[in-house]
């Protein structure tokens, strides 16, 4: 066994987020001990995702076909579109089971200082969908930070002519946390967004 091939795998694994040298070593030796079949499926899964993954032509989710499984699912509420920044956001919202409509991925957020202008995001495509599909509600689920907020404000403006209900996901404190540790901006937002019990 050459030291080189194990070291190479360790180096590759260390490129993953949250993986330091120790964990990478553990994983590398685990892979080494894996049955051939399992190791092969793992490496195939990795190469497949880079070869076959592409953006859904309607919502820009990650898919391996022209249209993603959510857009092609007839049972979903087609009158509602939830707008997110990244495909990964769809994953977590789906896992929460809180939304049964369609999505639209912007592939980023507006950032004047970084030169991210509206034409660099999938905003024109969103307007086109709203215009042609009789959308009733657009739920803006961009991140609750400055860029996400700016994007939300901008979307609200450009969606106004389409006579569609534009909503924003609520701001508030993370569940399971203590008010004592919340910062003043988060707390103020939570207070402003309070609702009747």
């Amino acid at each position: 066994m050459s030291q080189g091939i194990v070291e190479n795998l360790i180096q590759q694994l260390m490129k993953l987020p949250g993986i330091g040298r120790k964990t990478a070593q553990r994983l590398a030796f685990f892979i080494l001990a894996m049955p051939d079949e399992d190791a092969k499926s793992l490496s195939e899964a990795i190469s497949n995702i880079k070869q076959k993954a592409r953006f859904c032509s309607q919502c820009f989710n990650i898919t391996e076909s022209e249209i993603c499984s959510i857009c092609s699912d007839e049972s979903r509420d087609r009158k509602k579109i939830c707008v997110v920044e990244e495909p990964g956001n769809i994953f977590v919202i789906e896992k929460s089971g809180s939304f049964k409509g369609l999505y639209h991925v912007l592939l980023g957020a507006l950032a004047p200082i970084d030169g991210i202008t509206p034409d660099k995001l999938k905003i024109a495509e969103l307007l086109e969908r709203v215009k042609t599909n009789g959308t009733e509600e657009v739920i803006i689920a961009t991140n609750p930070n400055t860029k996400g907020e700016m994007t939300a404000q901008y979307l609200k403006e450009v969606l106004t002519p389409f006579n569609v209900n534009v909503t924003r996901i609520a701001y508030g404190l993370p569940m399971g946390s203590d008010i004592e540790f919340a910062d003043e901006v988060t707390l103020r937002k939570a207070m402003e967004g309070r609702r009747q019990l």
Partner: protein, 256 residues
Amino acid sequence: MLHRTEGIVLKNTPYGEADLLVTFLTKDFGLINTFAKSPRKVKSRFGSSLEPLTYSRISFWAKEHTSLPRLTQSDIIKPFQELRENFSCFLRLSEIAELTCNFLPEGEANIGVFFLLKKIMEMMQSSCSALNALVYKIKFLELTGYAPRLKGCARCGRSGQGFYVSQGSVICGACLDKLDEVSDKKGVVTLSAGSIRLYETLKAWDVSKTARIKVSENMFSELSGMLDAHIECTLSRPIRTKTFRKETVPFPCSRV
């Protein structure tokens, strides 16, 4: 070594899975880039304190001759949330932040610029006017040594009204004829005598008093056109925030 100072966030850039690179204008160290671990996680102790324009008391670890200082703490002194919530106001401040990031050298304290930014942000919180942003540009260029020269020709001192962008100065007619290179004569912005006077006034007056000055739309656009041309020429690239503003301008919220 652990350092403590006050700082204003100029921008942040996502890094890796949940980390941020945060650029601060600090009181004691000037412009610094820092690395913050995991502020994008929902329960991060940094909370919203790393959002642009937040004014905080910060601590960071910096080892000599090593890469990025690591931000260890950030306690909000003033969040300046209102400045971020208004689209057009945030655009004005983004331009100010962009300018500050691009002109200031890293790690050199410039207390004048720090207090100027803090003051302008406070003023913009009560009135997010374009004049306040213009005043920042003028004072900032002065404090960093990049101010355009409008008070007389750079060559002979005689008065003139043609500001030559490539020279960073007004050049009088007689001296213009003596310039050899055709490229030296390019990019002229004609300024009225009133605009030049206004510029000198804004430069000389105390920031807090400038809000009282009445500025005609004409003079305002002459001066801001000249400053932007001067800034873009000095940076040798367009101001990104300005490009952004142009692209979003058909919408009412960005007009104001």
